[in-house]
Symmetry: C2
Subunit: 190 residues, 2 copies
């Protein structure tokens, strides 16, 4: 469920000049965001950091919101397979572990993108699209274990407390966080 | 669970010049935050809006972070009684309804304070203290209905999905949001 499960957006993208340009630009977005937060993210800074001509960046992305939105879109395009551990509790725990890892790594691009979503409506919409897409992909985890349950409700029951604890309360990541709230999700499946 | 259950911070505070000054200053913080967000919140703007001399504001609050932290502290000092509807599901639903109301009113001071917590570490710490205090007060709801359950886990199971949906995913507030996730909390109580 990490927006960057393996590599920065576009890093492993197959060739083509357009794809390479996008990868360079989105890598620059990620590194500027991690270094200086939303305020460091300007189209000019992205152009300078990426080595892509600023008229190209302006033409294709136009503004900071579009750069952030495309970062989420690129993350969404990364292949992600829901876990298949043999039990609903095991699968929800593994999904939560991925979220904990994404939110507690230093620096955390996931955390930086969540923060940016409070500055940019375009980023907020793209964040939502990213998560709804991941929940749709992960629905199979619930459907095969608890056919009568609503997959999205179960997934949010398990995942939302992890986001709430780490991204909103900024609680220290207790060792059992992933499993504790995976149990909540499993209980919600009935 | 609304940071401002009845009135802006300090509004109903009993007399005394110090208390009145604080009420005026924190009212100004709230209105500036609602009008212009974090960027509009400067000590000078708060002094001008509140009519309190800027040297007084600087001496007592020092900076934006301290003003935000004191806004959360004032909210925490507001009396709040956990609901007592006769059932755990009823109580959790009522708590969630209060959170939904606080996050969906226009303008939402709760939403504005959450957003500010992504700009100010002092605000983030104060937000956490506010919520941990509310969870401690609300623990009785779980303790009387499910003595074996961990109150904080049950309360977060019910409330975190509401925050996640409305504050992070920015989902539209579906009619049954409060009750849907109250059921999750009740199921987590075992």
């Amino acid at each position: 469920m990490d927006p960057y499960p393996q590599a920065p957006p576009g890093a492993a993208r197959p060739g083509g000049r357009t794809a390479r340009t996008r990868a360079q630009v989105l890598d620059a977005v990620a590194s500027l965001l991690l270094e200086g937060g939303f305020d460091a993210l300007t189209v000019d800074a992205v152009a300078a950091r990426s080595g892509v001509h600023r008229t190209t960046v302006y033409r294709r992305w136009r503004d900071t919101g579009a750069l952030l939105a495309d970062s989420f879109d690129a993350a969404r395009e990364q292949p992600w397979q829901p876990p298949d551990t043999g039990s609903l509790l095991g699968d929800l725990t593994e999904i939560n572990r991925q979220i904990v890892a994404a939110l507690t790594e230093h620096p955390s691009i996931t955390g930086a993108l969540i923060t940016a979503s409070f500055r940019s409506p375009a980023a907020a919409r793209a964040l939502r699209d990213f998560w709804e897409d991941r929940f749709a992909t992960a629905a199979v985890v619930v459907e095969r274990a608890a056919p009568g349950a609503d997959p999205r409700t179960v997934l949010i029951a398990a995942c939302a407390p992890v986001f709430y604890e780490l991204a909103l309360l900024r609680s220290p990541a207790a060792g059992d966080l992933a499993e504790r709230y995976a149990r909540v999700g499993a209980a919600a499946a009935g």
